[in-house]
């Protein structure tokens, strides 16, 4: 087999092996170690868009956020905002909370702003989640500055 063809044929296998080996090494095994809430759930971006504001969170492996526990309001007491638009989450049944939706890995939320209105520059955001190891974090409340559109 020519060397170049052999090189190309081995790439997918080696790639898959290296990525999966790293991933396995980083997952909390049964959640024996618990991250601080700000590391488990990171708000990584709050940016104006043509339609309003886009908010992005990253969620560490082994942790999840509840869809029903996101909230946004003006930080400076301005006019009420529209409801956050959140994607459909994964279904989870809880004996106390009933059927809920959760997010893992990452989630983007959109805060729409009506045509002619100005997007807020500061927001008070709230979110709440748990570790799959059976520990939940208090609701996080943060005031964030909204970055200008790229």
């Amino acid at each position: 087999m020519p060397p170049l063809i052999r090189f190309a044929s081995l790439l997918p296998l080696a790639f898959a092996l290296s990525a999966s080996a790293l991933d396995l090494s980083r997952k909390p095994p049964g959640g024996s170690e618990l991250l601080p809430a700000d590391q488990a759930f990171q708000l990584v971006s709050a940016q104006r868009t043509a339609e309003g504001v886009r908010l992005s969170w990253m969620i560490a492996p082994g942790y999840y956020l509840y869809r029903q526990r996101f909230a946004a309001e003006p930080a400076d007491g301005g006019a009420p905002l529209a409801a956050l638009r959140l994607p459909k989450g994964a279904a989870k049944h809880d004996e106390h909370f009933g059927d809920v939706e959760i997010y893992t890995e990452a989630v983007d939320a959109d805060l729409p702003v009506a045509r002619g209105q100005t997007a807020p520059t500061r927001l008070k955001l709230r979110w709440q989640g748990c570790a799959e190891a059976g520990v939940c974090y208090p609701p996080v409340s943060r005031i964030v500055d909204v970055a200008a559109a790229p």
Binding site: Q39, G134, V135, C136
Partner: protein, 191 residues
Amino acid sequence: MSSARPNLAIVAACVVALAAGVAVFLLRPGAAPDLDDASASVGATPAAANERLPANLKLAELDGRAFSLDDYKGKLLIINFWATWCAPCLHEIPVLVTMQQRYGTKGLQIIGPAVDDIEDARRAAPGLKFNYPVAVGTPEAMLDLMSQLGNEQGGLPFSVVIGADGLVLERQLGEYSEVELAALIEKNLPN
């Protein structure tokens, strides 16, 4: 020479793929930050030798009545922090109620500080059928209390177990099972 070429190709393929795999892993959505010293262990953690709670810790019951942890000196004390937004807490509370009922006359006293808005805790309390005192305060005050008792991250449920001699026995982050909690209690009951 000709036999060395395929080997070189294999090595090169592995190096390129490993680098790509590392890059994809580190840049993927939801990539975990490094664990650092701020991480806490889920499960039971034994207390340090001769450790005692801070003196004169005061709490308020659901009806506003003030009480002190010192009121329960001489009892096996379990302080179990809970909240209405915490599903594992709501799952654990019936176990605690059972333990209080079973061992209360033998010197067990459970106390349940709620890391919650006071009104939320008051609304939820009847349905949870507490047979032990529930303490309330602002969420910030309860988080501060929990931090004083050894849980800086605020994860729930969280319990601190104090022996009848006033020495801290252990802390538990996450739920106790009924079996392990009963064993712990029976081992440390004063009567």
